[in-house]
């Protein structure tokens, strides 16, 4: 099997490639043959401030270590109410201020609700959509998934075989954009203001595409998350 962390160059030689995140310096680097090919701003998690309460999940610093990129795909989770449905899923107003989404498997319109059964209201969706995009019409697709259109999942390769197997699990931390940043990106890349995460790695929408096109999110790519104290070495500055 070929080494997924290296790729043939134009001269036929295999070139080592790896992705590096320096959370203290808020930078994500795509290293090809020892050189920085892409450098982008990226924000990790921060521990909660004193008296800061999060009713769902306590924020934390992004976990350091060496990981393997696994998937680049839309993400959904019941943990976060607005991430229960994939980005881009068709939605429409339902009866009495409810919101319906199209279940793509069954082609049935379902009521959007959180894990406690609380139905989403059109008002809260309209308010968030207006806040992000300044649009007053009810959106036709779901654009409030907290993880943006795509998430990049990775795992700790305990047995060093490059595959997700045995007792290995995908990390709950992942690389993704946010709905606010997706909306800001439509106004221009310079309008995108990244913020701290709960432990994930936030990137700008355009940068996510650059890294993807460069192959940085290909399955099997080596991904190093450095400690917050670590600084980028001189050769990569």
């Amino acid at each position: 099997m070929s080494d997924p962390q290296s790729h043939p160059s134009a001269h036929g030689r295999r070139v080592r490639k790896s992705l590096h995140f320096y959370p203290g310096e808020k930078q994500l680097l795509w290293i090809v043959g020892g050189e920085v090919e892409i450098r982008a701003e990226a924000w990790g998690g921060e521990n909660p401030k004193p008296n800061e309460v999060d009713p769902v999940m306590k924020p934390r610093r992004t976990t350091p270590g060496t990981f393997i990129i696994h998937t680049y795909a839309p993400y959904r989770t019941k943990t976060w109410a607005w991430s229960n449905v994939r980005w881009g899923t068709p939605i429409k107003p339902g009866p009495n201020n409810t919101v319906l989404y199209l279940n793509l498997a069954t082609r049935a319109w379902m009521t959007m609700k959180d894990r406690h059964g609380n139905e989403f209201t059109q008002d809260e969706v309209l308010k968030a959509h207006w806040g992000n995009y300044g649009k007053t019409a009810f959106p036709t697709t779901w654009q409030l998934n907290d993880f943006g259109p795509f998430s990049i999942r990775y795992f700790k390769d305990k047995n060093h075989d490059g595959k997700l197997d045995g007792d290995e699990r995908l990390s709950g931390e992942m690389i993704h954009t946010t709905p606010e940043n997706e909306a800001q990106a439509l106004q221009g890349d310079d309008k995108v203001k990244l913020g701290s995460s709960h432990g994930c790695i936030h990137v700008k929408p355009r940068d996510r595409e650059f890294f993807k096109q460069a192959g940085a999110f290909r399955r099997g790519t080596k991904f190093v998350i450095h400690r917050y104290e670590e600084v980028i070495p001189p050769q990569w500055r």
């Binding site: 959180d114 406690h116 059964g117 989403f120 209201t121 008002d123 308010k127 007053t136 907290d146 709905p179």
Partner: protein, 318 residues
């Protein structure tokens, strides 16, 4: 303009008196009125007049519980909220330029005042004698002649952070009670809260939604799997005075400040503050929207183009 269905026919509804309903008359058979606005929002306009509206601005008034007026269009490109404040009908929404606007409407739904609003997400405040709105930046009085009045800070729990939850405000002589819904986003996740102001200020946090002030009480509902907890709090202290579990996800409405009307597959009233059962009638399907009129409870079933009217027993005086 669309032709209006005017058919009104009789439908027999099961009605039963429950414990605590002594003195209530059994509800008589009720009319069913067909509207051209399915899945609308229902608002009592006072007396037996009912407004059905939707976000596209379609609106229709049922006069006296029997006669539909011609369908009309509220002069907003997008309607967000319609509420009756005293004798006024207030609407907030956006104009054709997507600018936020508040309108005061006559009972015939003709605009008689308009306010251009700042770029904020406003909700219509309740309970005041003069019209007011609220946003995350505070309350905003609507003065006559389209003039924006004074701003004032809203009560909020200490340390409350910016939230995407929708706001609710109720103003009485003793001050304002404000509530904000849960922020469901990962970035700003926050519990719902209600808070009052003044010397006996109180605050509540939880997963509750759709606050409703009814008489001297604040009614909050919290979803618990297939049931909803309805909690009655004293408006003066915030203290819980009664709780009840209701099947499904009910619609709630206030009946003369003395009863909470709960709409599920039945419509039942519970007396305040103890939530003792008062009366109950069977609904013709799951209640999706509901409004209390003088003599009727109006409701719409999910997806239906019919507004059902159930005779409303009067709450017994205490």
């Amino acid at each position: 303009m669309a032709m209006i269905g005017r058919s009104v026919f009789l439908s027999t509804l099961f009605a039963c008196a429950l414990g605590g309903s002594a003195g209530h008359a059994r509800p008589p058979a009720a009319p069913v009125a067909k509207t051209s606005i399915p899945n609308g929002m229902l608002v009592s306009l006072g007396g037996n007049d009912l407004l059905v509206w939707n976000r596209d601005g379609q609106a229709q008034v049922l006069r006296g519980g029997t006669s539909w007026q011609p369908e009309t269009r509220l002069p907003l490109a997008s309607v967000r909220q319609v509420r009756v404040q005293g004798s006024r009908v207030l609407a907030v929404g956006f104009d054709a330029e997507r600018e936020p606007v508040a309108l005061q409407l006559t009972a015939a739904l003709a605009p008689d005042a308009q306010w251009k609003l700042p770029q904020e997400w406003f909700e219509i405040g309740e309970g005041a004698t003069s019209p007011w709105l609220l946003s995350e930046k505070g309350s905003l009085a609507l003065s006559p002649n389209g003039v924006l009045g004074a701003r004032a800070a809203l009560p909020a729990p200490s340390g409350a952070k910016s939230s995407s939850g929708t706001l609710y405000g109720y103003r009485s002589e003793s001050g304002v009670v404000a509530c904000q819904g849960e922020d469901k986003t990962l970035a700003n996740a926050a519990s719902a809260w209600c808070a009052s102001q003044g010397s006996a200020a109180w605050q509540l946090e939880g997963r509750f939604r759709d606050p409703l002030v009814c008489g001297a009480f604040l009614v909050l509902r919290t979803q618990q799997a297939q049931k909803t907890e309805v909690a009655v709090h004293a408006l003066a202290s915030g203290a819980v005075v009664a709780k009840a579990l209701v099947a499904g996800r009910p619609q709630l409405a206030c009946n003369e400040g003395r009863e909470i009307v709960i709409g599920t597959t039945v419509i039942e009233a519970k007396s305040l503050p103890g939530l003792e059962p008062a009366w109950k009638v069977k609904a013709k399907g799951p209640v999706a929207a509901m409004a209390v009129l003088d003599d009727w409870i109006a409701y719409q079933k999910s997806g239906s183009d019919q507004v059902q009217l159930v005779a409303r027993p009067k709450p017994s005086a205490k």
